[in-house]
């Protein structure tokens, strides 16, 4: 059920998109109204979530230190995994955000007879997660040609690079294939590894299916159904210039399914675990400097009324014992 329900949900979205594309006025709704709405919800929701996080203070300085700290001058510090400066934290965050540094550490533990534990290297999750995210990024950037006129140089360069194998017409993009492969890996991993299957929720499968649906409809549109690019471009340019118009009947329904799924993803995004995209920047165990003994960190809700059991109270209780034991006291 955890897998089937989200799968059905995505199929239902596809069906809605397909039907809506063919009812009168549906194309305008799906091609113009919905994209604006979805984009607004995405931006608004995203900002709202980040502001909600930011509203809560970080009361304590709690970096997870993953290397030698700044200590005596002759002890070599690990300046990135245990940063004592802002620069170190920036380097740590860059490695985390762009190269998934922590995931790269992944190991796999196996229990053998004995009992004996063995830890093997396990980089596949890191590799496919990296491929998935970078392909997604490249694909989104490639789509900018539909929204920006003239097409920015880096988008053209990206397209050229992505299609450098020069297979087929229109030219086949490697990222499309790698993207599908990476999604398939992430899905199969969830299904086949028993502990990952056990922890997975519908909220883990749904975005996978949804993104897979977006990728497949996109690929079908480009290579199989050959949707009318000129008409599509007219529409997308219209969206970015706030003068949207749809050439009636020229655009294939597959396009509207694609757009509908993308809109669903945009709307779903701020309310879901996909917000890890923003959260990774704000995680206190990663983005804080390990300098808590050097610089006092302030907790805005620190309660000054919590005081230790006083020495005076302690001495009052134990004074006679202390005197007998030759321990100095304040009051004789």
């Amino acid at each position: 059920m955890r897998i089937l329900n989200p799968f059905i949900a995505v199929l239902a979205l596809i069906a809605v998109g397909l039907v809506a594309a063919q009812v009168p006025g549906g194309q305008a709704l799906m091609g113009i109204v919905l994209p604006y709405l979805a984009f607004a919800l995405f931006l608004g929701g995203f900002a709202y979530r980040v502001m909600q996080w930011a509203k809560s203070p970080v009361p304590f300085r709690i970096p997870t230190t993953c290397g030698q700290a700044n200590s005596l001058p002759w002890i070599k510090q690990n300046k990135i995994d245990c940063p004592s400066t802002k620069l170190g934290v920036i380097a740590r965050m860059i490695l985390e955000v762009f190269l998934f540094r922590s995931l790269f550490r992944n190991t796999k533990a196996e229990m053998h007879e004995g009992p004996k534990l063995v830890y093997g290297s396990s980089k596949f999750l890191w590799l496919f997660a990296l491929l998935f995210h970078y392909c997604f990024l490249v694909i989104v950037l490639r789509h900018m040609r539909l929204f920006i006129d003239p097409v920015p140089g880096f988008v053209a360069a990206l397209e050229f690079g992505d299609g450098f194998l020069q297979i087929g017409a229109p030219v086949f993009y490697q990222t499309d294939a790698i993207f599908l492969g990476a999604i398939a890996f992430l899905f199969l991993r969830r299904v086949m590894l028993s502990n990952i299957r056990y922890i997975s929720l519908p909220a883990d499968y749904f975005p996978l299916f949804l993104i897979f649906g977006i990728a497949v409809t996109g690929i079908l549109m480009r290579y199989v159904f050959r949707a009318d690019v000129v008409a599509i471009k007219q529409l997308t340019h219209g969206l970015t210039t706030f003068a949207p118009a749809i050439a009636a009947g020229q655009i294939s329904p597959i396009f509207f399914i694609h757009v509908f799924l993308v809109c669903a993803l945009l709307i779903y995004f701020p309310f879901s675990k996909l917000m890890h995209m923003a959260g990774v920047f704000m995680s206190p165990t990663r983005n804080m400097i390990n300098n808590s003994r050097m610089v006092r960190h302030i907790n805005p809700w620190n309660d000054p009324n919590i005081k230790p059991h006083s020495y005076a109270g302690y001495e009052d209780e134990f004074r006679e014992f202390m005197k007998e034991g030759g321990i100095p006291v304040e009051k004789e």
């Binding site: 190991t107 229990m111 009992p115 028993s194 808590s292 059991h309 202390m322």
Partner: protein, 551 residues
């Protein structure tokens, strides 16, 4: 609690049906109830202990520990207060507003599972809810249900669960099967730290009076007597004097420590277990010898006689309250700075919390070693230095006369304690000290040391006897790494810089690796120190014959 023999438990761990051995539970995790039976839970706090905390420790904060009462985890009625669900949800709301970490960690997990096999509790028990991701889901499901739009609308479909007695039971079970070691947070792509989840989970449990005695009683002792053992001032002093007697017998040197002395340059604070229980007392003898060797102007305190902080295992209020004694005493005695002994979670509190909670320590000076002149700028604000930092600096400057041959009967390895490793970054200092005081040192495998170190399995107040099997399971990854170096390098001494470790690793090794002993790094320093005017040493600090001196 009687426990089955190690070989039997070994078979059970490796072959018994568990998620670690490939057996997948038939039911979804939210349909598997937590069932308490003797041996799988630590005893609840005694009623009078909670009465003490509500009346004496926190009269200012009614409700912080619920209502004092007797209750039995095995019963279906925990005598919870009226409307306890509301108390929990309000408590959760308050903490979401106070801790950004909690909000982010509730929202960002993608359940990638990278943390799953990083937890020593999961590796040793194979219980799915000991995967850090599920431990967090126990709380996250309630959070989703009541604090997120998706959960409010879709409920169970969005992975939400209402707060029920069944959920509370799970929290009590699994937030006391986590030692806040932070190993999972090293591997998490978003740095989600289960220690944070467990700490806040325990805070919430306290609000409805769900707690364990092994934490609450030491916390009460710490508050009243200054140390978790409940040693009164004269007893505390007497214990150290006994250690001085032993030192005299072994070395011929009489060391004369002082107590509560005003005007000393340095206040020394270490976990009270070091002055009371084996093998910590040998570590304390190491400190005493070291300070005598260099002529340090220092004092012990009977009022601030506990380095450890059971508040860290309770809630942030208790942590602050117990920690407050250190600065209060440093101020009263007029010392210049504070030196801290070997302890794991103590150093998490000192490094990451103390200055924030109880600072600024503007009445102290930036710690400067009176022997070497080194200024410890890394402690410029908190003004507290770790004994390994202090000792490493002394050795580097050639201020210690050492004879490492006196540790030739030891083949040592080093266990990085969780908190100094992952909440401080203290990795090289103790190793530098070790390599200078003993000739035989071998590292355990790299996946089990430094930032990847495995917990002893009994931290955060879980080293109580009634859950011995759980502890031996949770400690298995550490014990296994020790076994590896024992077989490969004939290691016979597991050194560490943590008082809880010294107690718990001793039980762990007795169980899994009976011929490996446990010591503090400072014990080996004490063995190696050549004291001025000493007699020829025939034994180490535990009266064990030195190499070449046997029989």
């Amino acid at each position: 609690m009687a426990i089955i023999k190690a070989d039997k438990l070994g078979v059970s761990v490796a072959k018994g049906p568990s998620l670690m051995t490939g057996a997948v539970p038939k039911n979804d995790w939210w349909d598997v109830p937590a069932t308490f039976k003797p041996g799988n839970y630590a005893y609840p706090a005694k009623k009078e202990i909670i009465e003490y905390h509500t009346q004496k420790t926190f009269p200012s904060h009614p409700g912080l520990f619920g209502q004092p009462r007797d209750w039995d985890p095995e019963s279906d009625d925990w005598n919870l207060p009226e409307g306890w669900e509301k108390i929990i949800l309000n408590g959760l709301k308050e903490r979401l507003d106070k801790f950004r970490s909690l909000k982010i960690f509730m929202d960002c997990c993608v359940r990638c599972g990278a943390c799953a096999d990083k937890c020593h509790f999961f590796l040793g028990t194979g219980d799915p809810k000991n995967m850090p991701v599920l431990r967090a889901e126990l709380l996250r499901s309630v959070y989703r249900n009541d604090f997120t739009l998706g959960g409010k609308i879709l409920g169970k479909m969005a992975g939400g669960r209402p707060m029920t007695f069944g959920v509370l039971k799970e929290w009590f079970m699994y937030y006391y099967q986590c030692t806040e070691c932070r190993r999972c947070s090293v591997f998490c792509p978003y740095g989600i730290d289960t220690a944070e989840i467990t700490m806040l989970g325990r805070e919430l449990l306290h609000l409805v009076g769900v707690n364990i005695n092994w934490i609450m009683e030491p916390a009460a002792n710490s508050n009243r007597t200054g140390n978790h053992m409940g040693l009164q001032p004269h007893t505390f002093k007497d214990n150290i004097v006994y250690l001085c007697d032993d030192i005299e017998e072994i070395t011929g040197i009489r060391v004369e420590p002082t107590f509560n002395r005003k005007g000393a340059e340095v206040l020394f604070i270490t976990p009270s277990a070091d002055v009371f229980a084996e093998p910590g007392i040998y570590t304390a003898m190491g400190y005493l010898l070291l300070f005598h060797h260099i002529g340090l102007d220092y004092t012990w305190s009977t009022y601030a006689s506990e380095g450890g902080n059971f508040g860290l295992f309770t809630n942030n209020e208790m942590m602050k309250k117990l920690n407050g004694k250190m600065y209060a005493e440093a101020k009263r005695l007029g010392v210049k700075w504070i030196l801290g002994g070997e302890c794991g979670h103590m150093w998490r509190v000192l490094h990451q919390y103390m200055d924030t909670m109880n600072g600024p320590a503007d009445f102290l000076q930036v710690p400067t070693s009176p022997i070497t002149g080194t200024r410890f700028d890394n402690a410029a604000s908190t003004k507290m230095v770790h004994i390994s930092e202090f000792t490493a600096d002394l050795i580097k400057h050639g201020k210690l006369k050492l004879d490492p041959k006196r540790n030739d009967h030891r083949i040592a390895t080093y266990h990085d304690s969780c908190n100094p490793a992952r909440a401080m970054g203290l990795l090289e200092e103790p190793r530098y000290v070790l390599k200078n005081v003993c000739n035989n040192f071998h590292e355990m495998p790299e996946n089990t040391i430094r930032e990847s170190t495995f917990c002893c399995g009994s931290g955060t107040g879980l080293n109580t006897d009634e859950i011995m099997e759980l502890r031996m399971r949770a400690g298995l990854p550490r014990a296994n790494a020790v076994k590896y170096v024992r077989e490969k390098h004939e290691v016979n001494m597991l050194s560490c810089v943590c008082a809880i470790d010294r107690a718990t690793l001793t039980s762990l090794n007795n169980y899994w690796n009976p011929d490996v002993e446990v010591c503090g790094v400072s014990e080996l320093v004490g063995n190696a120190l050549v004291m001025e005017g000493e007699k020829e040493r025939e034994t180490g600090l535990r009266f064990e014959p030195l190499a070449g001196m046997e029989g």
